[in-house]
Symmetry: C2
Subunit: 237 residues, 2 copies
């Protein structure tokens, strides 16, 4: 009897925003895996917190890089592929031994989640089930009190790493947008929002639903780097 | 002491995809409100199911229209505004009497949710808190096993009611897309996907996470009307 890999979204940060299903699976799985930056406790693990079985075996997969290399660096892709291969191998070993594994994932697994790289390596050969999670952006707009889209409106989810021209073009074709992965891209994002005529309604949100949460109109933000996971909400009204 | 309006996302359909927070609020609120089509039981109410307090007072708000009028009809907007005004008035009465009210909402309240129309009427004058929910699209891509976006990719959320040209233009500017509110728009959506070169990877999903769930490649779908809440997933790969 092979085990099942449960890829479990644990939501945006507040542990109470986990689903009932996630809580049930974490309480039942004998093996719990998660990714983390080297030397950091792991955000998904922190969110899952007290829901894990006391006797669960924990697998902490340390990313090979933090900020030493950029994704565009050719060494990065090769090293990351090898890293995900090794993680998939460790999980496959547990599944083959009949143990269910819960792989924790911040937010929703299939929206920019690292768990996608293990899904593509294991789903063809092993039983894999995915439990959706509250996305970081849902956590942000709920806390900010910002309704995003209604009726026939379009929502664009845009990484802040795009060029200013590409951002502007996509903002112009959507009534509402979320701009993710802000980091050092704030000046460029601000310029794109201004060019698309959306600067006045943009809201900056960092660490939504967590300690240190920050929500304010973008126009009140100083320039300078933002946290990598901060985002900008551009509601349709 | 005025009561608090809790706008509570109850997720895509499977009651186990409610959050721990939603379950706690539903067990605590003395008044529970929800929208429904006249004569139908109400999908949000069904999802919330056994989590409500036995003694809770229930407010069922029947939409004035089902399919008799289209949103473009000028009578529609006026009638709907009056309807939401009346709903807000009923809720405001409970809040003024010191009773907390939970307003149930399928999926996530701020993503195409009717609760937004009560938020805009009450949030300026009453304490309102929003509990995010798992979106219908997250439920769909999790059940379909379809990872959507990674890294620097763009996701577009598009209503199927747009013109074919508008759909095609937006599909071309995004690596991934979700096309919502399919209903009678399937032939048009299929043509737009073909024009944008995405037809082969499109996946049709109806009633995700619920009884009668249907998931299949769009190319295997016959023409003809789909359920209104069916959607198309277009993953980036």
């Amino acid at each position: 009897m092979t085990g099942v890999l449960h890829i479990v979204g644990v939501g945006p940060g507040d542990p109470e925003l986990m689903t009932l299903r996630a809580a049930r699976l974490l309480a039942a799985c004998p093996v719990v895996a998660h990714f983390r930056k080297r030397g950091a406790p792991g955000q998904a693990r922190r969110i899952a917190g007290s829901h894990l079985r006391a006797a669960a075996e924990e697998l902490a997969f340390d990313y090979p890089f933090t900020t030493e290399r950029e994704p565009a660096d050719p060494v990065y892709a090769g090293e990351m592929a090898g890293f995900y291969d090794r993680c998939a191998g460790v999980i496959a070993g547990h599944l083959a031994a009949g143990r269910d594994v819960a792989l924790l994932c911040e937010g929703d697994p299939f929206l920019y989640g690292s768990a996608m790289y293990l899904h593509e390596r294991l789903a063809g050969t092993h039983p894999v089930e995915v439990t959706p999670g509250i996305t970081g952006m849902s956590g942000a707009w709920s806390r900010a009190g910002v309704p995003m889209v209604r009726g026939e409106e379009v929502l664009a989810v845009l990484p802040a790493t795009m060029t200013q021209e590409d951002l502007t073009a996509r903002l112009r074709l959507a009534q509402a947008a979320v701009i993710m992965k802000l980091g050092r891209n704030l000046p460029k994002v601000r310029a794109a929002l201004a060019a698309a005529g959306r600067l006045d309604r943009a809201v900056y949100v960092a660490r939504a639903t967590m300690a240190g949460e920050e929500i304010r109109p973008l126009r009140d933000m100083a320039e300078g780097p933002a946290p990598y996971f901060a985002l900008i909400l551009v509601p349709s009204r």
